[in-house]
């Protein structure tokens, strides 16, 4: 009851004309920035940060939050239309979104993405409203051992994202983990594999990996395919409504995705990319339609979008209540609050209840605005596919260049993107998939950091991973998943003895 009362008050705050307008400006800007490859919410928030100095704290926060989750909506658009993730977290949406677009069902995919994003956003908001104090506590129950265990679970799930050979998927995760070690070792300060290049000391930026492997790699493949007309499918421009059966099949994934996303969002650092990957991997195991995954399944679009949008909302919990930013964009939110003398921390929910509940309520309004904004735009986005590819692809290359350059205003990042782009193309030739690599790359540094910290704190005793209750439970679940995966792989092999084995597992 108390929550409803607080939420009602928040709704009144969020519905003030000024806040409503800033919310709209935020989500509008976020959507468009999110579409541009490489330019994420970070650039958009830095852009409006000076503007927020003149606003009430609530208005500023509502607008910044709008940009943040608006960018998640927008990020999926480029993924579906061009197989180039607008934001790293929408990389997973490429896997089924792009095949749908190639089938001429880009409109349906965009619609599914918008609906799933909306569902995820609303679910994330509800979870945040009801469970904010509990989720803040959850993050406090997660020490290094627990983080390590949850990351391990995420990695095992991630290796299932691959649609090709399973062993290649696991190999890509391992390669991602390995490449994540490039840069200064944060535990000792020693440089690893940087070849003396100062720009490599902080490792390779996630956006560079995503843009290189997915964006540039995909472009090289598609130039010739388009010149030959292989991509000229009949596109139904008018019809973007999913069929009744598709509507039905999206409901469960949206709920599952939101739940998984909310959990990962509340753990600072794991973020939207991991949320969408794990949700996709789990859905691929449990969906009745799993055989179609990777070939344009509508559930494959719905689940990562539901997950990353709900994670986007719950990511505000550790940011506001613990002051721990899960991402660079969240660090900006903390910065903006500090300009007003509001220090994120345990007192924020109490001392600035108006601000907190106004923000929560603005998620509801913002998500409705985004839906209203995005549904009519689908027709416009789909028409982009009508532009001949010979005009499109040089433009996309330029957008990738500018996006990557804007990360640190350093051309070294453009050179790195070139390298990753070439590697991405070669990987496609060798039938390796970039998505598991990306997830390994995101989680690797975190996994190593927590592992070493846990070992340091336990004075070298590895049994802590099993004896601490939360991490012990997670490790057991991970082990069961692995056993199940082996069991089903063996059973599959037994039932199909005639087919030569393609995997060494």
């Amino acid at each position: 009851m108390e929550i409803l009362y607080s939420f009602g008050n928040g709704l009144l705050v969020a519905l003030e004309p000024a806040n409503l307008m800033y919310c709209f400006v935020g989500v509008f800007l976020g959507t468009f920035i999110g579409v541009l490859p490489g330019i994420g919410s970070m650039a958009a928030i830095s852009m409006i940060l000076p503007l927020t100095f003149y606003l009430e704290p609530t208005s500023a926060l509502v607008m910044i939050a709008g940009v943040y989750y608006g960018a998640e909506y927008g990020g999926s658009i480029a993924s579906i239309l061009m197989n180039i993730p607008g934001t790293p977290s929408s990389s997973i949406t490429c896997i089924d979104g792009y095949p749908m677009a190639r089938d001429g069902r880009a409109g349906v995919a965009l619609f599914a993405s918008a609906i799933a994003s909306f569902g995820g956003g609303i679910m994330g908001m509800i979870i945040m409203a009801i469970l904010a104090p509990a989720l803040a506590q959850l993050a406090l129950n997660f020490g290094p051992t627990e983080y390590f265990a949850v990351i391990l679970l995420g990695l095992v799930a991630a290796s299932a994202v691959s649609n090709g050979s399973p062993i290649k998927g696991i190999a890509m995760v391992a390669a991602g983990l390995m490449f994540g070690t490039v840069g200064v070792d944060i535990t000792t300060g020693a440089e690893r594999f940087t070849m003396g290049i100062p720009e490599l000391r902080d490792g390779v930026h996630l956006v560079i990996v995503a843009m290189g492997l997915f964006g540039v790699g995909e472009l090289i493949v598609s130039i010739r395919a388009n010149a030959r007309g292989e991509h000229d499918n009949e596109i139904d421009y008018a019809n973007f409504y999913p069929s009744k059966a598709e509507w039905k099949s999206m409901i469960a994934p949206i709920f599952r995705g939101s739940g998984i996303g909310s959990f990962f969002g509340a753990l600072p650092g794991t973020g939207q990319t991991v949320a969408s990957a794990v949700a996709y991997a789990i859905e691929k195991k449990v969906s009745p339609n799993r055989a179609k995954f990777g070939k344009g399944a509508i559930e494959g679009v719905a689940i990562p979008e539901a997950a990353n949008n709900s994670a986007t909302q719950t990511a505000f919990i550790p940011t506001l209540t613990l002051g721990v930013p899960g991402s660079a964009s969240m660090a900006l939110v903390i910065g903006a609050l500090m300009m007003y003398g509001i220090v994120p921390g345990p007192r924020l929910l109490v001392d600035h209840a108006d601000l907190f509940w106004g923000l929560v309520a603005s998620f509801l309004i913002g998500n409705v605005l985004l839906l209203i904004l995005n549904i009519p735009l689908i027709g416009l986005w789909v028409k982009l596919l009508k532009i001949p590819y010979r005009y499109m692809y040089p433009t996309i290359i330029v957008l990738i260049c500018v996006g990557v350059y804007s990360l640190n205003n350093n051309v070294f990042d453009v050179w790195l993107t070139l390298v990753f782009g070439w590697v991405g193309y070669l990987m496609r030739l060798f039938k390796f998939e970039p998505a598991p690599f990306l997830i390994g790359f995101v989680l690797g540094p975190m996994m190593e950091e927590q592992l070493r910290r846990a070992m340091l704190l336990s004075r070298g005793d590895a049994t802590v991973f099993l004896t601490r209750p939360i991490s012990g439970t997670l490790i057991v679940i991970t082990a069961l998943l692995l056993v199940y995966a082996f069991y089903s792989a063996i059973r599959q092999r037994r039932t199909s003895k005639t087919i030569p084995s393609t995997s060494e597992t």
Binding site: I39, A43, A174, T187, P394, Y405, W415, F430, S503
Partner: protein, 163 residues
């Protein structure tokens, strides 16, 4: 590296070259990389369980990847499906476009840099004639100027070294 590329090109020319060649190459590439990380990791020091060294994680992940790479090679050698045909022209042109951007943006500014980048990127598509490429480049350069510097306000110089 050159040999390697030539071999790739050669394998691509054969009609219906099986994937086995390429697959084995990919696995071998990852195997080589994992060995670099294992050796480098040992050089950095693996430390003790209590205080894991700088090289510990690269060594662990390197070993896992090395094992998996061998599995990948074995699996790919049995793969008889058709290989993807490489498109080295686009490969070079797109790489070239990124290189042109990297070389020009800090020297002559964003707008002329994008103009040259667009032209480089559009080279492998013969369906657009050269005047068309020029026009496209001009439009993209001007639009980016308006969008990134005018609207978004990124701290880039539009033109440099012209005065």
């Amino acid at each position: 590296m050159r040999d390697f590329l030539l071999r790739l090109q050669h394998s691509a020319k054969e009609k219906h070259a099986p994937h086995a060649y390429l697959g084995a190459l990919g696995g071998a590439g990852f195997l080589a990389l994992s060995i670099i990380f294992i050796v480098g990791g040992f050089e950095l020091g693996v430390g003790a369980p209590r205080r894991l060294g700088t090289g510990a994680f690269p060594v662990i992940t390197g070993f896992i990847l090395a094992l998996l790479s061998m599995g990948v090679i074995a699996a790919d050698l049995q793969d008889t499906s058709d290989a993807e045909k490489p498109d080295w022209i686009s490969f070079v042109a797109i790489g070239g476009a990124l290189a042109v951007f990297a070389l020009t943006v800090g020297r002559i500014g964003l707008v002329p840099g994008i103009f040259l980048t667009t032209i480089t990127a559009s080279l492998p598509d013969p369906s657009l004639k050269f005047p068309g490429k020029m026009a496209l480049a001009a439009v993209v350069a001007l639009a980016c100027w308006g969008l990134f510097i005018g609207l978004i306000g990124l701290p880039f110089d539009a033109f440099m070294g012209f005065n």
